[in-house]
């Protein structure tokens, strides 16, 4: 068989954990090879080794049958290996073009020659149908566009081996579809692709073969066509997974969250990004805000939770006006918030896991007396959550949060916010980057909260999640709510039309 890349017997350990334990992976020319595993299974580590970011403790890498040394990304580039990192590696105050050419700049007498580069970039973007604006600043463009920039960056280098580390986690359904097409095209051209994802549908759609890892160990490599979703998830998690959320019909109660004529201005321009929005969330229901990223979801949530100022309108929680209340006040009146950006808002990465688990409650009676922290109680509480939510880390409650895998960081936040038992839970992308097992668990928790007669306001970009979990779907488009739908009576296709602005309900609430 013709293998472009072989990773043989790769072992890599970090303090307290064996991240890769004698893993082997063989990549065929022109194939799309998926990599599947729970959070912390060692996928990113393995790919980082292939890309020269980490040095393996043991094991060898072969290209076209010859052993090679990859000690830094430069080497990787030279061997034609490119990587789209899960957390984009883009410089925020650079333009798209600058980010793409960095590292392989063309120069004339020492000066940058941007025109040629721009032409090549524009050509690539046409060829693969990846729309980008070469002169936009990264900080001004949407996540989807950033994803496209990462892909073009890789294509620009004429790489033949492409690594995608969870590229779809932040994309809208349409964007995912496009990406799948692009990957297929690339494979057809003879490029070989390694593809990490937690979404089995995606694997089924594009991948030829799939390698499954579990807790750092190699499990198996399977032909995708011959293997069912259920089989994959069982291999990965070691048990059966339920893909559809089982739940009763919602028994709604009083209005918990009431948003009236809310308008929010953007930080960058004077234009409002949320325009005169009104809606209610009742006790005992999951209301989901669906929409394509960048249509004002973030700002709407920030305004509700207090991270951003309200320009006009009112917000009520259980009938009390909280438009101008402080964040702490809102939190104490029963609001919880799983934030969109876990590193920016959700965690103090330099704090231990225990300290992060009390980030919203450290000041409460349980955890302090006369202003002094009660460390014993905090640790006890942390251990409880760790156990309950299966938060995995090297050193338990005292692990430095920075060193935890992204999925487990996410679990920590979800645990903290749900355990507050809030009247209203505002959850933004709560399962982003999580493996199916964890997703299943969190979805169950959300439903459990609902059944305890609590209100849940869910913001998600993933249609499947939207359809699965919610009792009611609000669609946001360009800062306005354009539809209020029942998930049981709306099709995925319809939802997509609303989200893209092609369709609009006459009198959306």
């Amino acid at each position: 068989m013709d293998y472009v890349i072989e990773m043989l017997g790769i072992t890599k350990s970090f303090p307290g954990i064996l991240a890769n334990d004698n893993i082997s992976l063989q990549l065929r020319r022109g194939e799309i090879h998926a990599l599947l595993g729970e959070n912390g299974a060692g996928k990113s580590t393995l790919m980082s080794i292939l890309f020269g970011l980490y040095k393996p403790d043991k094991g060898i890498i072969k290209k076209n049958g010859k052993e090679i040394q990859i000690s830094n990304p430069n080497d990787a580039n030279d061997y034609g290996i490119g990587m789209v990192h899960q957390h984009f590696k883009l410089v925020h105050n650079f333009t798209v073009l600058e980010n793409i050419i960095m590292g392989v700049e063309t120069t004339r007498r020492g000066f940058l020659k941007l025109d040629e580069a721009r032409k090549k970039v524009v050509d690539l973007s046409h060829k693969y149908n990846l729309f980008i604006d070469p002169d936009a600043l990264i900080s001004d463009i949407t996540v989807g566009m950033q994803q496209r920039v990462e892909i073009i960056k890789m294509l620009y280098r004429d790489n033949e081996i492409l690594i995608f580390d969870e590229p779809t986690a932040m994309l809208t359904p349409q964007e995912i579809k496009e990406l799948m097409n692009i990957m297929r095209d690339l494979a057809k051209e003879g490029k070989s692709i390694l593809f990490i994802t937690h979404k089995l549908d995606e694997i089924k759609q594009v991948a030829d073969r799939c390698t499954v890892l579990q807790k750092g160990k190699y499990i198996d490599t399977l032909d995708v066509a011959d293997t069912s979703k259920e089989k994959f998830s069982e291999l990965m998690v070691g048990r059966k997974i339920e893909f559809t959320v089982i739940k009763d019909k919602a028994k709604t109660g009083n209005v918990v969250l009431s948003v009236k004529n809310l308008t929010v201005k953007s930080k960058h321009s004077e234009k409002p990004v949320v325009k005169n929005v009104s809606f209610n969330v009742k006790a005992g229901e999951v209301v989901c805000l669906a929409g394509i990223d960048g249509n004002g979801q973030s700002e709407l949530v920030y305004a509700i939770t207090g991270l951003e100022k309200v320009t006009a309108g009112a917000i009520e929680l259980n009938g009390k006006d909280i438009t101008k209340s402080s964040i702490r006040r809102k939190s104490n009146s029963g609001m919880s918030h799983i934030p969109e950006d876990r590193h920016k808002h959700g965690l103090i990465l330099e704090y231990s896991l225990a300290k992060n688990l009390v980030l919203q409650s450290y000041y409460k009676k349980e955890f302090q007396t006369y202003g002094f922290l009660r460390f014993k109680e905090i640790t006890k509480y942390a251990n409880k959550l760790i156990e309950q939510f299966d938060i995995r880390s090297g050193q338990g409650a005292k692990t430095l949060t920075r060193s935890m895998s992204g999925g487990n960081q996410q679990k920590a936040i979800v645990a903290r916010e749900i355990d507050k038992d809030p009247e209203l839970l505002v959850a933004v992308q709560p399962t982003r980057g999580l493996d199916v097992g964890a997703i299943e668990y969190i979805h169950k928790q959300l439903v459990k909260q609902r059944d305890k007669n609590k209100a849940i306001f869910l913001v998600s970009l993933e249609l499947e999640e939207v359809m699965n979990v919610s009792d009611r779907i609000l669609v946001i488009y360009e800062g306005e709510i354009v539809a209020d739908l029942d998930p049981k009576s709306v099709t995925m296709e319809d939802l997509g039309l609303y989200m893209s602005g092609a369709k609009r309900e006459e009198k959306a609430v």
Binding site: P15, K344, H345, I348, L359, G371
Partner: protein
């Protein structure tokens, strides 16, 4: 025994070892310079430095502690701010305005009787706090980088104090501030007697008190939890309902009060120290930076770092009995600080060694700690 083992394996242990390592390397570097300039006397001189304050007997020890007193407080000031994500390069200005208020009360506040030194001391803390509040507020409200505004406040403080000294408490004949009243001097509580007439006084005990207080605030309290959270991630702190802006101002205010206290303890000691009306920034404030760093911004660490710096400074003073330029001691202190910057690598090295040992014990594969590129 078990506790000791636990401590040896804790990160704090490698912190200490790393700092001590830096000190040793710095000292060796100093010895090399001594050897180059005057090989004959290098060793006796070096031992004099090592002996530090002990060269002067009990009095020498007293001098060390006296000298360490303001250093502890400025070190705490800088270190406290560091912990909360702020770089207080303005301790110099805060110290001098604090010192000025202490002197003002000390000269004019006779009516206060035996409370005079206490009022002077509290006044100095308040003044330092106010001085630091300005960069704090500018940062919180206007997003002005605290380093630049603190540098500005240093100069403003210096010029202002020079003006006010001349106007209010001026000894024209010596171009410095007037001497303070006896009731304004810090009580000695017999410390000077014990140390055979050194300048040591209650100020040292006050400094220790502040070490304990800041340690507790930072490590044991809700307030400290919030401050440090803001230092590491202001956005997340805001999300957690912590008033980040208020905390920035408070952190600066506390840092300023500590530096102001340092000023008070300097000028209220009965050692005849005065504010000299010269356009030069108070260096004692800047010494807080290396001390905070050497002490890893930990209050206890700061305490020992200050004592250590005072110790070898006094050692350097006694070293003058040999034929060396006094500046040598400055070079040695600088190199100790420089090498203490390597603390991180030393820490990793220690962690690595400890791991290796454990590995041998358990014979379990665990590899290097940090990836070094190439």
């Amino acid at each position: 025994m078990n506790r000791l083992k636990k401590w040896v394996n804790s990160p704090r242990f490698s912190d200490v070892v790393a700092s001590v390592g830096a000190i040793i390397v710095g000292l060796i570097f100093g010895l090399v310079i001594l050897l180059i300039t005057n090989a004959q006397q290098a060793f006796p001189a070096f031992f004099t430095i090592l002996k530090g304050g002990f060269s002067g007997g009990a009095k020498g020890i007293g001098e060390v502690l006296y000298m360490a007193t303001p250093l502890i407080l400025t070190g705490l000031s800088v270190g406290f701010a560091f912990k909360t994500g702020l770089f207080n390069i303005g301790a110099s200005g805060q110290l001098i305005v604090g010192g000025f208020v202490a002197i003002l009360v000390g000269v004019k506040g006779e009516a206060l009787g035996s409370y005079q030194w206490i009022v002077a001391f509290l006044g100095a803390m308040a003044a330092g706090a106010v001085w630091a509040a300005v960069p704090g507020i500018l940062k919180a409200v206007f997003n002005v980088h605290e380093v630049i505004s603190s540098i500005m406040m240093n100069y403003i403080g210096m010029y202002l104090v020079n003006m006010l000294v001349v106007e209010m408490v001026y000894d024209k004949l010596k171009n410095q501030s007037l001497i303070i009243k006896e009731t304004a001097e810090l009580p000695t509580w017999g410390l000077d007697k014990i140390t055979q007439g050194s300048g040591l006084n209650a100020g040292f005990l006050i400094a220790i008190l502040f070490v304990i207080i800041t340690y507790i605030i930072l490590n044991k309290t809700v307030f400290g939890y919030e401050l440090i959270a803001c230092g590491h991630n202001p956005e997340a702190s805001k999300y957690a309902g912590i008033k980040a802006k208020r905390n920035i101002v408070l952190a600066m205010v506390i840092a300023g009060a500590l530096a102001g206290a340092a000023g008070a303890l300097m000028y209220l000691a009965s050692t005849g120290k005065h504010i000299r009306v010269v356009d030069v920034l108070a260096n004692e404030g800047f010494m807080g930076i290396p001390i905070a760093l050497l002490g890893l911004s930990n209050p206890i660490g700061v305490f020992f770092a200050a004592i250590f710096i005072a110790y070898i400074t006094i050692g350097g003073f006694y070293m003058q009995l040999f034929d060396f330029v006094p500046e040598i001691i400055d070079i040695m202190i600088a190199s100790i600080i420089y090498f203490s910057a390597f603390a991180l690598i030393a820490k990793n090295l220690i962690a690595y060694i400890l791991k290796r040992q454990k590995k041998k014990e358990k014979d379990k594969p665990i590899e290097e700690v940090k990836e070094a590129k190439k």
